[in-house]
């Protein structure tokens, strides 16, 4: 059914986190985009926003519903994926290659609260 990539961190609310040094890229999973259906709008955070693990930082709106985005990690937004403003359907086309925002991770200890691909696969079944 849905794809799950190895090497990423996953949250129970279906966001993924890719860690590159002190930075983290945040997106929604293939399972999440599949459940949402056609995405029509992404409410992006702004650069310099402070995100807290487990708290809302934006929203994804589809033809079915609007869902809050919950941040998998605490940190400061350094970049947002502006392409999603005009083409929100990129999340449907490839959820793992279209990150939503890039953050500086403030507390790497928090990674312990996230799942690996194996554990995430289990909750998607």
């Amino acid at each position: 059914m849905s794809t799950v990539l190895d090497g990423l961190y996953y949250s129970e609310s279906h966001e993924w986190l890719k860690v590159e040094g002190e930075f983290g890229y945040i997106g929604i999973t293939d399972y999440a985009q599949h459940q949402l259906g056609s995405v029509v709008y992404v409410d992006l955070p702004e650069v310099d926003d402070e995100l807290n693990q487990g708290e809302e930082f934006g929203a994804v709106e589809s033809v079915k519903a609007a869902s809050d985005l919950l941040s998998p990690i605490s940190g400061t937004v350094v970049e947002i994926n502006e392409a999603l403003e005009d083409k929100p359907e990129l999340l449907n086309e490839d959820a793992f290659n279209n990150w939503i925002c890039k953050v500086t991770i403030s507390d790497p200890e928090e990674l312990k609260n996230l799942m690996d691909a194996e554990a995430y696969k289990a909750i998607c079944e």
């Binding site: 459940q35 056609s38 029509v40 709008y41 709106e61 033809v63 079915k64 519903a65 929100p88 359907e89």
Partner: protein, 485 residues
């Protein structure tokens, strides 16, 4: 004309006229007397059509409507019950329709009496002290109710209470109204049985909690059994209990939110009390309060002194929430409904609504997945088809039902399940109608297995086929002028 599909502007022909105006009563009045800034520079672009054009146009367009009077309308959480015609007869009485809200109290005693007596009837039905009928609809009632909650805390000098607890099964309007009211939302999860998880509620309660919003029976159609315990806990921390009256129908005359410990509630007259709705209204969302909050009710208030009715303000009132007295025409219909049922008959409303919902649920649970077993109240939720291997989704089922002449149930709500189908038959449907609907639902479930592609491309016999909702949401065409053929 079955597939008539035009806008009135498309049948316009220059010079065609469908009216003749009488002589002006205003003598030598001239538009040239108006200041330049108030005069339009080009003539209004109105459609030019004959009387017969207009009549055919609107008759054909209206034939495409679907309403309770066309067919079964099981839209969950909307209580699309039949609206008896006596309501319309009463509301059309010229003694009421020719009133003006600026008339003197003395000349509108009958209208004020109707307002007062309807408020009294709602107070009796709900077990609360007093009602305002001023809010225009359900969500407006919610906002008014939360403003009352806030006013109550502010007047006590308790300014720390900025959070409202909302269950994860709540109507979307609950957190939305709380946010508009400037309150912060805290979500409390449901148990696997679909009711509020009291163990998870308890740690959330402290002196920052303004109150909790609850719907009972909740949006899964399940009666919240822990209300006395929840009321004790929330009141214990100094918060108030708000009752979302969207699902009041099954409780009518049987049990009362006021007796359960609720302090504030709104009622949707357009759901429970059989006034027309759909297509945007008009609705009416009266708000009732316990005795401690009566002074904060919005202005104007209708009160009774001896045998006379009067309009009053009130120094502690939170102010005005609507123009004059709200949607008075809707109140007249609800008043007629309550009086024509009477105290004894009104008790059967919930019984029959509950019986109908359980009958449909039990008749279909071998082909649709029922995530929460047991007896429901007036509505229930399936989580899609039992056999999901065909890829046929809840959306496809809903679209296919249109081919069979049914309004689709509520879909993809509540958000607790991925494939929610929420069905509310209401008390006004006969067993024969329910049997026909059950048969249609079973047929769709069979078709999903035998010919999934056909179901996925439904509807097939409606005036328009499946719409491209993604494009409609992203690039909506809102004006005739923007429509390019």
């Amino acid at each position: 004309m079955k597939y008539y599909n035009k806008l009135i502007f498309e049948i316009s022909k220059p010079g065609r006229v469908g009216y003749s105006l009488p002589q002006s009563d205003f003598g030598n009045y001239s538009l040239a007397d108006l200041p330049q800034t108030l005069r339009r520079e080009t003539p209004a672009e109105l459609p030019e059509v004959s009387e017969l054009d207009v009549v055919r146009h609107y008759t054909n367009v209206s034939n495409k409507n679907f309403g309770v009077e066309t067919g079964f309308y099981p839209l969950g959480s909307c209580t699309m019950k039949y609206n008896p015609k006596i309501n319309e007869e009463m509301a059309a009485m010229p003694a009421f329709t020719t009133l003006h809200p600026r008339q003197s109290e003395e000349s509108v005693q009958g209208a004020l009496r109707l307002y007062y007596e309807l408020a009294q009837a709602l107070a009796e039905i709900s077990g609360l002290a007093e009602f305002t009928l001023n809010p225009f609809a359900g969500a407006h009632g919610e906002l008014t109710g939360l403003m009352l909650m806030r006013q109550y805390h502010i007047k006590r000098g308790d300014l720390k209470r900025t959070k409202v607890i909302v269950p994860d099964s709540a109507h979307g309007t609950n957190p939305a109204s709380a946010a508009v009211c400037g309150l912060e939302i805290v979500e409390v999860p449901s148990t696997p049985e679909g009711t509020i998880d009291v163990a998870k509620l308890e740690p959330l309660l402290d002196d920052t909690i303004a109150g909790i919003m609850m719907t009972n029976p909740n949006t899964l159609g399940i009666f919240e059994k822990e209300i006395p315990q929840i009321a004790k806990l929330v009141h214990g921390c100094g918060g108030l209990l708000y009752y979302d009256g969207a699902n009041l129908n099954p409780l009518l005359g049987r049990c009362r939110p006021g007796d359960m410990g609720f302090d504030i509630m709104h009622i949707n007259l357009h759901k429970t009390f059989s006034t027309p709705h759909g297509g945007g209204g008009p609705g009416s969302g009266p708000v009732g309060v316990a005795a401690a909050l009566v002074d904060y009710l919005p202005r104007p208030r209708v009160v009774k002194h001896g045998d006379r009715y009067a309009v009053e303000g009130g120094a502690d009132s939170l102010g005005s929430v609507s123009g004059f007295f709200g949607n008075f025409g809707v109140m007249m219909r609800a008043y007629a409904y309550i009086l024509s049922l009477g105290k004894e008959q009104i008790k059967h409303v919930g019984e029959l609504a509950t019986l109908n919902a359980n009958y449909v649920k039990e008749s279909l649970k071998d082909c649709y997945y029922l995530p929460i077993e047991g007896i429901c109240k007036h509505e229930f939720v399936f989580d899609g088809l039992l056999d999901k291997s065909t890829g046929v989704t809840t959306l496809d089922v809903a679209k296919r039902l249109l081919d069979y002449g049914y309004h689709a149930p509520t879909i993809y709500f509540p958000l607790l399940f991925h494939q929610s189908i929420m069905i509310e038959p209401t008390e006004t449907e006969s067993k024969e109608t329910l049997d026909e609907f059950i048969e249609a639902m079973r047929t769709v479930a069979r078709e999903a297995i035998d010919d999934p592609e056909m179901v996925k491309s439904a509807p097939h016999v409606t005036p328009v086929r499946r719409l491209d909702e993604t494009t409609a949401a992203k690039n909506p065409i809102l004006r005739f002028k923007d429509l390019n053929y």
